[in-house]
């Protein structure tokens, strides 16, 4: 790999032990993927940022790098914590877990990290520009940055994202290079998509087919909301290891189908249809229980925009969440504050639902669910369905909120 004089200095330890270790990580990674050089990156996003997902080894790594004197030279944002750092006590989380989170967050803050603790930091200003190279973790954000924004990132893990934060570099391979960004398969959408969860279903369907390839969508409506794009990206990233996508006429690298696919023509064997039948089949594949069986509802995966929170508030207004059901609506703390200021949070909390901030149910240890008798859950996110029913083995009902709203709430008299 060709290194600049400054990069060589970093690798030789002339910029300190943390920078040296970070450069070793990036050079080795670059050599695994036959990268020819390093490129500057504008920001990094760290995953995981909670002790339960990072494990002892992950926490050790963060601490080790901080002790070596690591300091971020670019903006570095953080993925969700393992609990809501404001409501953890009333939600019944143990003090020890809170302390573990505070310790790890402290280590990341010491290095200069921005503790936004969200999977959608680009919603609150940690936003790469079009064509900007960045080093982000969090699969849904990676797809959103490449696809929707037209920024450039690979799917980074903890060591490489942290190393990029410390050096401001990443090896030039994968989605940083033009030739790897073209679409390789086509998904023709003929289903009528109503709302964000339908886009999530589409993403989940296409991600399964695409695996690690770049899909091109045709036939989408002329306007797609930010939350719908976020959910499409998250769906793609959860059933496959998709990092990038194109939507013809909607995303920056796809003004036309030809621009999206490059010189290679996509043949019929790589062309798929997403119609009403495919939508129904995908939805059914994610559900293992009837909505009557659930006692936990999870909305807001990925973390919600203010507009989508208001939609939920409008749907919930005049209703009460049934006694045996917990309903969590997930977002980031900044957006929660925004919802409070606008009076939307009051509407939601008066129904018995909870606006939960800066955490992710997939980062919460399984013991918590067991201790709180949470046996089955309903969600409108295929990513959450996949994460909780897979790793945590919690049975799931998957559908948009209107399909199970009457089962989990009652009208207020």
């Amino acid at each position: 790999m060709k290194l600049t004089r400054e990069e060589k200095k970093m690798l030789d330890g002339k910029c300190g032990a943390a920078v040296q270790k970070a450069m070793e990580i990036l050079v080795a990674l670059g050599e695994c993927y036959d990268a020819k050089e390093m490129i500057p990156v504008g920001s990094a996003h760290l995953v995981p940022c909670n002790p339960s997902a990072a494990g002892k080894g992950g926490v050790l790594f963060y601490k080790d790098m901080a002790e070596k004197g690591a300091k971020f030279v670019i903006p570095v944002s953080t993925n969700p914590a393992c609990l809501d750092s404001w409501a953890w006590r009333e939600m019944g989380f143990p003090e020890e877990m809170y302390q573990g989170q505070v310790d790890l967050s402290g280590v990341i803050a010491k290095m200069g990290g921005f503790l936004c603790n969200t999977c959608t930091p680009y919603v609150i200003g940690h936003t790469p520009r079009t064509k900007e190279h960045v080093a982000w973790g969090e699969s849904s954000a990676v797809v959103y940055i490449n696809g929707v924004i037209g920024g450039r990132t690979n799917r980074e893990g903890t060591p490489s994202a942290l190393a990029s934060g410390i050096t401001g570099r990443t090896p030039a391979y994968g989605y940083h290079l033009d030739q790897n960004r073209y679409g390789k398969l086509k998904v023709r959408v003929t289903a009528d998509l109503k709302g964000a969860s339908d886009y999530a279903t589409l993403g989940y369907y296409a991600g399964k087919i695409a695996q690690d390839r770049v899909p091109i969508f045709t036939g989408l409506p002329g306007f797609v909301s930010q939350q719908e794009m976020i959910c499409l990206a998250a769906g793609l990233a959860s059933s496959g290891s998709v990092s990038h996508f194109h939507a013809v006429g909607l995303t920056p690298e796809a003004p036309t189908e030809k621009a999206a696919s490059g010189t290679k023509k996509i043949g019929p064997s790589d062309t798929f249809r997403f119609g009403p039948k495919e939508m129904k089949k995908t939805e059914e594949s994610l559900s293992k229980v009837a909505p009557e069986e659930v006692n936990l509802v999870i909305l807001g995966c990925p973390h919600l925009t203010i507009g989508e929170i208001r939609k939920y508030a409008e749907m919930l207004a005049g209703r009460t969440v049934k006694d045996h059901v917990e309903m969590w609506i997930l977002t980031q703390h900044t957006i929660k504050k925004y919802a409070e200021d606008m009076g939307i949070a009051d509407v939601i909390e008066s129904t018995g639902a909870r606006l939960v901030s800066n955490t992710c149910p997939s980062a919460i240890p399984i013991d918590y669910y067991k201790q709180h008798g949470l046996k089955a859950f309903a969600t409108d996110s295929p990513k959450m369905a996949y994460l909780l029913s897979g790793a945590k083995k919690l049975p799931c009902f998957y559908g948009s909120l209107d399909t199970f709203l009457d089962v989990v709430t009652s009208h207020r008299r």
Binding site: E24, K56, G57, G58, L60, F61, G157, P159
Partner: protein, 139 residues
């Protein structure tokens, strides 16, 4: 027996000497190796029940979850890590694991280490110079 020296590529720096432990099949550290004991726990794996602690571990390539990098660091912290790693071709997970744990590692050797090195051989890995030396064969 004359020493055999094989040229390879440095993946993670450092030097170590130890007894070889060879696996013909890929290895996953996360879920595959117990971090408290260093014993391979993956069901049906050819090294199941064997400790990798203090060995020069020779296997084709890593497999499994991306958090595997940190499993190596946990093993190292618990004093149960291998002394060095030799792979056919390094994958990102084991590569990063070796670097963050300060375990010398080499790959892309000029001759196939899975054929040349046998479990029990005394092997020296000089990752800084990208060299593997078989000091003595076990019989």
């Amino acid at each position: 027996m004359a020493e055999i020296v094989i040229k390879g590529r440095r993946v993670a720096k450092g030097r170590a000497r130890g007894e070889a432990l060879v696996s013909q099949s890929p290895l996953s550290f996360r879920g595959g190796v117990d971090e408290q004991t260093g014993v391979v726990v993956e069901k049906g794996h050819e090294l199941e029940g064997v400790s990798i602690c203090g060995k020069v571990l020779v296997f084709p390539v890593g497999k499994g979850s991306t958090v595997g990098s940190f499993q190596l660091l946990e093993l190292k912290t618990n004093g149960k890590a291998p002394k060095a790693i030799i792979n056919l071709r390094a994958d990102p997970i084991v590569t990063l694991g070796a670097i963050v744990s300060d375990i010398p590692m080499v790959d892309r050797l000029a001759r196939n280490p899975l054929e040349l090195i046998k479990t029990g051989d005394l092997v020296e890995v000089d990752a800084d110079r990208g060299l593997v030396k078989i000091v003595s064969k076990s019989h």
